[in-house]
């Protein structure tokens, strides 16, 4: 098993939705991995959804801004088009007003 990837194998035939609307996986490991790793503040529009290594980082920083978190590589923050500054917020230096990944436009030059 590749411990870096909890989703090394996913069997769609083991997925179901129960009568109460909940998701059920026959694969107990998958269930636990998917259920246990969800940062409370992850929502579908969080820029950090796109950070490939966010699970290795502090969940508390997943606050809707595009961060370079902890020991993550800059490349993890590929939601930022031109990641030039890790701290405190990653900012997109190009086309700020058109760009959804960065939240803190106040530090961006206007396009």
């Amino acid at each position: 098993m590749d411990i870096r990837n909890p989703f090394h194998r996913i069997d769609p035939s083991g997925m179901s939705i129960c009568s109460d609307g909940s998701v059920k996986y026959d694969d107990k490991e998958l269930y636990e991995k998917s259920g246990g790793n969800v940062p409370a503040h992850v929502s579908s529009r969080s820029p950090n959804d796109a950070c490939s290594n966010i699970l290795a980082c502090s969940e508390s920083l997943n606050d809707g801004r595009c961060h370079n978190v902890g020991s993550c590589e800059e490349s993890d923050n590929f939601n930022c088009a031109n990641f030039t500054d890790c701290s405190p917020y990653a900012v997109n230096r190009v086309g700020c007003s058109d760009y959804s990944g960065c939240d803190d436009w106040s530090v961006c030059p206007k396009p």
Binding site: M15, I17, V23, G35, H41, S43, N53, G95, P111
Partner: protein, 354 residues
């Protein structure tokens, strides 16, 4: 390639994404829309069923995400306020994160209604323009044929005055004929809205997505990217593929229809996965009962999850494409090159959306 967090979010049983259609009627008749508008307002039995479903599910969740779709959801704004308010309060009571977004044509998003929606944490909106007033009013017209641009624009100006955080995304449709018009609109949006970080804009190519022909000329990928570069004065060529500037700028996207933790409940109580293939039997998966339980054909449902077996970007980005390729019906013409990866949030109409 999908990140662990993307897969986690897609598979987590602690997240629940509910796409609700309070009505499938619409006050618009966009020239390219694929919907048939046959199903009307959600009846009380379905509303009650959804409330009971939420009451049972929310205590077990970390995140509840409600998406309002239609038809035009704000035609039934009282149901949005009623059910959305219920979900909002339930999540507050149980300490569950709540997010809600509305895909609306913007005609009914008035300065009176908007603060009431913000009060129940409905903070994300998607509103489509087909260009500036000249083009928009040719294609996005009321059912009586009248123009809509001026009222939508006035509504946006009123929304801009609202206090507090919200996000309004302008979806700008592009086809062969309206490139100049979209450029004019984009310039005006930049000047009047996009300096405010609560607003943003992204682009989408109009495509033929039902059997019915459309009048608009569909751009190929090269022409589309060239059009975006022209419209944005080159900015589109400098952003990464993960920027979400258009469907050509999305990477690692998993469609809501592929996610086990996402369900669509139609106005008549039927349950499906895809907000586009509304007439397809493969998307007719069951129904919600008034007691809040759901009856689902899991065998058929699993067809929508098949992309997880291979982690195919194409299948997870649009499971409907794979399903249609396996069993193409005569009235469904989505092709991978046309739909590819569309937005994480369902957007109005396939022809309209893509």
């Amino acid at each position: 390639m999908f990140s662990d967090s993307t897969l986690t979010e897609a598979l987590s049983p602690r997240k629940f994404h509910l796409i609700l259609m309070p009505t499938e009627k619409c006050n618009f008749r966009c020239t390219y829309c694929y919907e048939d508008f046959l199903i009307g307002r959600m009846p009380p039995g379905v509303v009650e069923g959804i409330k009971r479903l939420l009451a049972a599910r929310v205590p077990t969740l970390s995140v509840l995400h409600v998406t309002w779709f239609g038809g035009e959801p704000l035609v039934a704004s009282d149901l949005v306020l009623q059910l959305g308010g219920y979900a909002h309060e339930l999540c507050r009571k149980h300490g569950v994160e709540f997010a809600a977004n509305i895909t609306t044509n913007g005609y009914g998003l008035t300065g009176d209604l908007f603060p009431r929606l913000l009060d129940i944490s409905h903070t994300d909106y998607q509103i489509t323009f087909d260009g500036d007033e000249e083009w928009h009013d040719r294609t996005r017209v009321l059912a009586n044929g009248r123009a809509t641009f001026a009222r939508i624009w006035a509504n946006m100006e009123a929304c801009r005055e609202a206090q507090g955080p919200f996000h309004i995304a302008f979806r700008l449709h592009v086809h062969e004929e309206n490139v100049e018009s979209v450029k004019r609109l984009y310039g005006r949006l930049r000047k009047e809205f996009l300096q405010d970080r609560r607003f943003r804009a992204f682009f989408h190519k109009v495509s033929r997505l039902s059997a019915r022909p459309i009048k608009e000329g569909v751009l190929d990928k090269k022409g589309y990217l060239e059009a975006l570069a022209y419209i944005t004065d080159g900015a589109s060529t400098r952003v990464s593929r993960a920027s979400g500037l258009s469907e050509e700028h999305l990477d690692g996207y998993i469609c809501y229809a592929a996610k086990p933790n996402s369900l669509m409940i139609r106005a008549d109580g039927r349950i499906g996965k895809c907000t586009v293939a509304l007439q397809d039997p493969l998307n007719d998966l069951g129904r919600i009962k008034e007691d809040g339980t759901v009856a689902i054909n899991n065998e058929k449902l699993r067809l929508w999850f098949e992309g997880f077996g291979t982690l195919s970007e194409q299948t997870l980005g649009c499971p409907a494409v794979t399903l249609k390729q396996a069993k193409p019906p005569k009235d469904f013409v989505i092709a991978p090159s046309e739909i590819g990866r569309h937005r994480a949030d369902p957007v109005k109409g396939l022809a309209e959306q893509i």
